[in-house]
Symmetry: C2
Subunit: 102 residues, 2 copies
């Protein structure tokens, strides 16, 4: 993982480090988180592309604006399941999903 990517992860609060304790991510964890960030970034991009507000998307998926914001922010307390449901609701196809992930 290059330092740019690492920074991107750290900036989102995924890697919490202080002088006493440093959480080292295993390779699988890092890959999982990267995947999740790809999904959240794509969600935001797709929503903006369709000119939908967070409030509107929230209604579409039966959720709330705050949760949508957290999804797009890559908050650790958001599951891939929820991200996928949102993307599917926006009409993203399997092929597009595949591209996002790969």
């Amino acid at each position: 993982m290059d330092s740019k990517k690492k920074k991107r992860l750290e900036a989102r609060g995924w890697v919490v480090g202080d002088t006493r304790e440093f959480l080292r991510l295993t390779a699988e964890e890092a890959r999982y988180i990267e995947l999740k960030l790809s999904l959240s970034e794509s969600l935001k991009a797709e929503r903006l592309k369709q000119q939908v507000t967070q409030v509107e998307l929230a209604k579409m998926i039966g959720s709330s604006q705050s949760r949508v914001a957290k999804m797009e922010a890559g908050d650790p307390a958001v599951t891939v399941d929820l991200l996928l449901k949102a993307l599917l609701t926006l009409g993203v196809t399997k092929k597009q999903l595949a591209k996002i992930i790969a």
Copy 2:
């Protein structure tokens, strides 16, 4: 969705119907579930390919045999998150994941 696919979903307990109540899946829900089933099938295939038992895989991902069985059975009470973590632990690459999903 063709009837074959529908049968496959129903057989897993996703569609619970009786004479009074019939749960109709929305298009998004169906697509989400199909995605999940693809992942669980791939998980089982990959595990078998690597000649790993459910007990062994459970240890690898810090879980239990029963949960691995549920993952592979496409149990609704298993998240995509968990399936992804298992697949990643087995060394499945992003490209392979993309193929599974698409």
